[in-house]
Amino acid sequence: MSTNNLGLTLEQSVKYQGRMGQWAWIFHRISGLAVLLFLTVHIVDTSFVYFAPPLYEEALKLYKSVPFGIGEVLLMAAVLYHAANGLRVTLVDFFPQWTTRQREMWVLVWVFFVLTFIPSAYIMGRGILRSIGINVL
């Protein structure tokens, strides 16, 4: 038995076996925290446009680097999943009769995610490759 809350949570999360709903919840938390981390950095760097323009140009150089580019593809994934799953949660909250269609809604979340993320990742990945001199279609 773990003695601290986080350890206990992780331990029980593995044991709980809540299947679909538990995965939806875990992904929602992780994607939400990831977006908040990026958003906090992004608000501060964008405020440099007003407070310190030369520093903004420096921040942009960082954004145009390959690791940051890959991070932005992951950010896109987090935003798209969080949007789709958040809409599912909201719909079930306001239309309780839909709780009987949870499985279908969970499938729809992933259909939306795949249909929107794959073209986005392709376009963003193409931009990253172009920035290092590799031109793809």
Binding site: N5, L6, T9, R29, G32, L33, V35, L36, L39, T40, I43, V44, T46, S47, F48, V49, Y50, F51, P53, Y56, E57, L60, Y63, K64, G69, E72, L75, M76, V79, L80, A83, G86, L87, T90, D93, F94, S120, I123, M124, G127, R130, S131
Partner: protein, 135 residues
């Protein structure tokens, strides 16, 4: 707190009505802002990463091609407020799930409000204060 026994076995107990707790308003805010962010946040990602490419961005581009339009400043202002408060409240929800010490929770809440507030004001001042391009 009067208990009235009505004829025919129905018991009605009157309890004092209490106001809605802040948590219930925050619950509603999360759904409402979440729906707005479907357009604002996903739309922002599409504009910045699909329609445009970050590799073409520059200070001039932000000032002349984005913030030169009032509607984009309105969009960014709404996005800033809704997304950041939505995110900070989400962070609070996650943290109080794992931290149960009352003093620690108070410190966390204070930090979220103060640090979040400063960053929010920085962003708001930049969006509203950045100069319009000279035509």
């Amino acid at each position: 707190m009067a208990t009235t026994v009505l004829p025919n076995r129905v018991t009605v107990r009157k309890v004092a009505r209490r106001g809605r707790p802040l948590e219930s308003y925050l619950w509603f805010f999360m759904r409402l802002s979440g729906v707005a962010l479907l357009l604002l946040a996903v739309g922002h990602m599409v504009m910045q990463h699909i329609q445009n490419d970050v590799h073409d961005a520059s200070l001039e581009w932000v000032l002349n091609s984005r913030w030169a339009f009032a509607w984009i400043r309105v969009w960014d202002f709404a996005l800033l407020g809704l997304a950041f408060i939505h995110g900070l409240n989400g962070l609070h929800t996650v943290l109080v799930d794992y931290v149960h010490n009352a003093t620690a929770i108070k410190i966390i809440r204070t930090l979220i409000v103060v640090v979040g507030g400063i960053i929010l004001i920085m962003g708001a001042v930049a969006i509203l204060g950045a100069p319009m391009p000279v035509r």
